[in-house]
């Protein structure tokens, strides 16, 4: 989805049940805390009987605590007095003893408190009761704002907010020399892909995020380990960003943006995305004809049947990433250059196809199209 200006609603949720501190009507800034929760700690199993050289059945005799009791890191959990050298087992971390069995002491490490921030500038319009946190449906708040929205196809995880800076167009790779000290704390935008050296330079300059046209797949693992989020708008490889997408980002060069690079699970809605809030005073009638003023909720609506005039993005070569307008629908299968026959749509890509010299129209199977608005 790529929309120049709209009302956006986004949920910010706690990873596990906790406490929501924001309230309906509250205006929030990106760093504001909207709630906090305690993430359960992992289990540590200490083979106490073996460590102290006693039979398993003597475990309770040497343990100084019982199941359900809390301990602090360093506390002596069990002791075996001896004539020469008494031995002891110490708590490796704060936590609660959950079981003493089979010669082992099982410690649940104390939970870690996490604070969830608003991550964007807007107004809290609802408190979300929450269902299953693991299904992405935990407690949280709904934040509403007016802004531009650009969704990508891959994200490295994490989120960030900061000023956007265009550092390379769709016509060339991002190079290390494009990233200087002035990029510190900034979300960089590069219209196509980048080299490994550029990635290292970005890390060195402590950028706050990266928005790319695409990313070489063999860099994905390294990117996931970076301390900042990275989003690829078009996919993997060296696919340039669609002109319309890049132009939209360019109009917001220097503005504050929120980058959410989380990859939802297979059963979870949503996509990695960048949200650029537009102050109400600046809000103008849409600068591009296909921008609509509708509210974009957290969960995208089911795909509508395409109709002539719909704005679509092609997903496969030779038009991968290109944005165009549906001219005509063909529900009866039509031949493809491969020899297959499939239903699809005739799409006018105008001059949006990267490198296209003239307006271009092509038949694209429905399976290879997605709506962008």
């Amino acid at each position: 989805m790529i929309v120049a200006q709209t009302t956006i609603r986004r949920a910010r949720r706690l990873p596990v049940p906790g406490e929501i501190t924001a309230f309906v009507g509250q205006r929030v800034e990106p760093p504001d805390i909207i709630g906090r929760a305690s993430l359960p700690g992992e289990y540590r199993v200490l083979p106490v009987a073996r460590l102290l050289g006693v039979p398993d059945e003597h475990l309770t005799e040497v343990c100084l605590y019982r199941a359900g009791e809390s301990v602090k890191e360093g506390d002596v959990l069990a002791r075996q007095p001896g004539p020469l050298r008494p031995r002891a087992v110490h708590a490796p971390a704060d936590g609660v003893i959950v079981a003493l069995s089979e010669g082992c002491l099982i410690l649940e490490v104390a939970p870690r408190v996490v604070e969830v921030r608003a991550g964007m500038r807007g107004t809290v319009v609802g408190i979300l009761e929450g269902g299953l946190a693991a299904a992405g449906l935990g407690q949280g708040v709904m934040i509403e704002l007016t802004g531009a929205l650009i969704q990508g196809v891959w994200g490295s995880g994490q989120g960030a907010y900061g000023l956007l800076r265009i550092v390379a167009g769709p016509d060339r790779l991002l190079q290390p020399e494009d990233i200087d000290v002035s990029c510190h704390g900034v979300i960089l935008v590069a219209g196509t892909s980048l080299s490994e050296a550029a990635l290292r330079q970005a890390q060195q300059m402590q950028v706050r995020g990266l928005i790319l046209g695409s990313l070489p797949a063999d860099l994905c693992e390294a990117v996931i380990d970076l301390p900042f989020p990275v989003m690829a708008v078009e996919g993997m490889g060296h696919r340039p960003m669609a002109t319309a997408t890049f132009e939209l980002l360019k109009t917001h060069d220097g503005r504050e943006a929120t980058l959410i690079a989380d990859m939802p699970g297979r059963w979870q809605p949503g996509r990695p995305e960048v949200i650029i809030p537009i102050p109400v005073v600046d809000a103008q009638p849409a600068a591009v004809p296909w921008a609509k003023g509708k509210v974009i909720g957290e969960q995208p609506a089911p795909p509508l049947a395409l109709e002539p005039g719909a704005r679509v993005r092609a997903l496969r070569a030779p038009y991968a990433g290109a944005i165009g307008t549906v001219k005509k629908l063909y529900d009866r299968p039509r031949p493809l250059p491969t020899g297959s026959r499939l239903p699809g749509a005739e799409v006018d890509f105008g001059h949006a196809t990267p490198g296209a010299a003239a307006s271009e129209t092509a038949f694209i199977p429905y399976a290879n199209l997605e709506r962008v608005e």
Binding site: Y43, E102, A217, D218, Q299, S340
Partner: protein
């Protein structure tokens, strides 16, 4: 003729990760036929998040074809009641749309009970997350810690022969129980179906070890975790009993994974019997065909978006292998964790940087439902499919003959391709070449394709109406691609390897000489069965060759003579390798 009381019209629905297939079988002129089929995109994932929606779309398409209402005003399938003008008599369901079952295996010895457990796990959609064994270097604490901290859907405990010692297995059970009890404090109420969130459920303890522990198990577990007890997978060191555990794993896949797919509960209510995992249904048809064709060997390969299934039927006995982490859509990127991009690139008819293969696989995984628009991308998808089949076959632990030198699975009398990438390739020659490259069979091999996506449907139908399976297959349910003649042994490249003579139905006598190292195609239309006289060069042999003659059946491609040698040798130079692949593709009309 069909029995008066048996179901007449049968709707079979197969829900894959990308496509949902619906097939309507009905009695026409006294025999079962496929009267309509339809395919719709599967809608279990966002944004629709409702499996039923895609199933309804497929059924609505069938309604249009047969001009008979199948859905009521609420969008529910009309089942039963023998309505003359509406609905169907029976609906059966197969599915592979869910995530695989995540397993932790715990057993005693890698080579015995754990090897058997792995084999059983390979027969349905599972992913082994971790293995605990007596000699893995972990102590009791280490095992409990692993089990407590690792997310899994089930812990499978095996070990101990019948009548043998059971202390070590008992300790494994206790470790699993302790870990489960630790986690139970965190586990909330069971989520309602439709949330697709089975990961919050406590792992099921699945026990297939020494039966002496059965009575104690229930006391030990005491309702703390879901417990399933089945027969000992290794009752004696020299006896392996996989089937009971296989059935339990399939049942668990349905109960823990499929049941939580959004909308699955609606669809399963229409089905007259529990949903069958697609791999099992596919395997049943392979098994059926192998039993029916006079004790022949039938190999079925189904390359899907998430998983790859290889089913081998040998005279009615089935061997099934499922790689739930290897596919050409959702799992395309994961496939490249098992094979290298260069392994994939070697099958392409054009040179390509392995990094581009990596990019392609990732893009396909990001958009698994998309279809290739260019020949280049068709070739890339089929190259991924070749590797998916190859590693599923290689990791199979198949039965061998000749003292373990030759795997029977490489000597099938028929090979059947299933899954969109292979079975519905734009050109039949592409399917033929992909099968020959990936399976590398030897002998006289009939090649077929499940172009209608019928096999899982028929596998489920066979449980309630076996005659329907026979009659639909007899009416050409599978597309014949032709027959491949693949001698074993070694010849001299470029020298004559095989001379064949046949009376071609279109043009009289025909004699063809094929040099060793080459691939040759003789067009022979579907439905034609002709005797072919063969003369093999020294060093080459052919199983099934009697008095220098074999019977071959025609198909969409025809008679294929594959003298490229086994195993296939591909040039090391990428340019030469691509030229070679291009030449072979041109030979088969791809």
């Amino acid at each position: 003729m069909t029995d008066e009381l048996s179901p007449i019209s049968i709707l079979a629905v197969d829900c894959g990760s990308v496509y949902t297939h619906a097939v309507l079988l009905d009695v026409v002129d006294g025999v079962y036929r496929m009267v309509a089929r339809a395919t719709a995109p599967t809608t279990a994932e966002p944004p629709v998040l409702n499996l039923a929606e895609g199933v309804r779309r497929a059924i609505m398409h069938i309604q249009t074809i047969i001009a008979r209402p199948l859905l009521d005003e609420h969008g529910r399938l009309i089942v039963g009641g023998r309505h003359v003008t509406t609905g169907v008599d029976v609906c059966v369901l197969t599915a592979s749309v869910a995530d695989p079952l995540r397993l932790i295996l715990a057993g005693l010895v890698e080579e015995f009970d754990l090897a058997s457990a792995r084999q059983a796990a390979l027969t349905t959609y599972t992913r082994i997350e971790e293995v605990i064994s007596l000699n893995d270097g972990r102590d009791m604490g280490g095992r409990i810690e692993l089990l407590a901290n690792r997310q899994a859907d089930a812990v499978l405990v095996v070990g101990g022969t019948e009548g043998g010692a059971n202390g070590a297995v008992q300790r494994l059970v206790k470790a699993a129980l302790l870990a489960a009890q630790c986690r139970s404090g965190r586990i909330g109420p069971r989520p309602s179906p439709g949330l697709a969130e089975a990961s919050s459920l406590p792992p099921t303890l699945l026990y297939a070890g020494n039966s002496a522990l059965h009575a104690q198990l229930h006391d030990l577990i005491n309702g703390h975790v879901p417990l399933v007890v089945t027969d000992n997978i290794r009752p004696r060191l020299d006896v392996e009993r996989l089937q009971p555990l296989q059935s339990q794993l399939e049942a668990l896949y349905e109960a823990r994974q499929l049941a939580y797919v959004p909308g699955f509960d609606h669809i399963s209510a229409w089905s007259t019997q529990p949903a069958l995992p697609t791999a099992r249904a596919f395997g049943r048809i392979v098994q059926f065909l192998s039993a029916r064709q006079g004790g022949s060997r039938v190999l079925g390969v189904d390359v899907g978006s998430v998983a790859t299934v290889v089913a081998f039927g040998d005279g009615g006995r089935l061997d099934l292998r499922v790689r739930a982490d290897v596919g050409v859509g959702h799992s395309a990127a994961r496939l490249l964790e098992a094979v290298s991009p260069a392994d994939v690139a070697r099958w392409l008819p054009f040179p390509l940087d392995p990094a581009e293969v990596h990019n392609f696989a990732w893009n396909k995984a990001l958009y698994p439902a998309t279809v290739p628009q260019e020949a280049r991308e068709v070739a890339l998808e089929q190259a991924l499919a070749r590797e998916a089949i190859r590693i599923t076959l290689e990791g199979g632990g198949w039965e061998t003959q000749d003292g373990g030198q030759s795997s029977l699975v490489r000597r099938p009398s028929s090979v059947i391709a299933a899954g969109s990438t292979l079975a519905r390739a734009p050109r039949p020659g592409q399917t033929v070449l992909a099968l020959l490259d990936a399976v590398q069979p030897v002998g006289i091999v009939r090649l077929l394709a499940d172009v209608n996506g019928l096999m899982p449907a028929l596998g489920a139908v066979g449980l309630i109406q076996p005659i329907a399976v026979v009659q639909v297959l007899e009416k050409g349910g599978l597309l014949s691609l032709g027959t491949a003649i693949v001698p074993s042994g070694r010849g001299v490249p470029g020298e004559p390897g095989l001379r064949l003579r046949l009376r071609h139905p279109a043009g009289g006598p025909l004699e063809v000489e094929v040099p060793y190292g080459e691939l040759e195609v003789v067009p022979l239309p579907a439905g034609e069965e002709v005797p072919v006289a063969l003369e093999l060069a020294s060093g080459l042999g052919l199983e099934g060759l009697e008095h220098g003659q074999v019977m071959v059946t025609g198909g969409a491609v025809g008679l294929i003579v594959d003298l490229r040698g086994r195993p296939l040798h591909l040039p090391d130079d990428p340019e030469a390798c691509a030229a070679q692949a291009q030449a072979w593709l041109a030979r088969v009309g791809g």
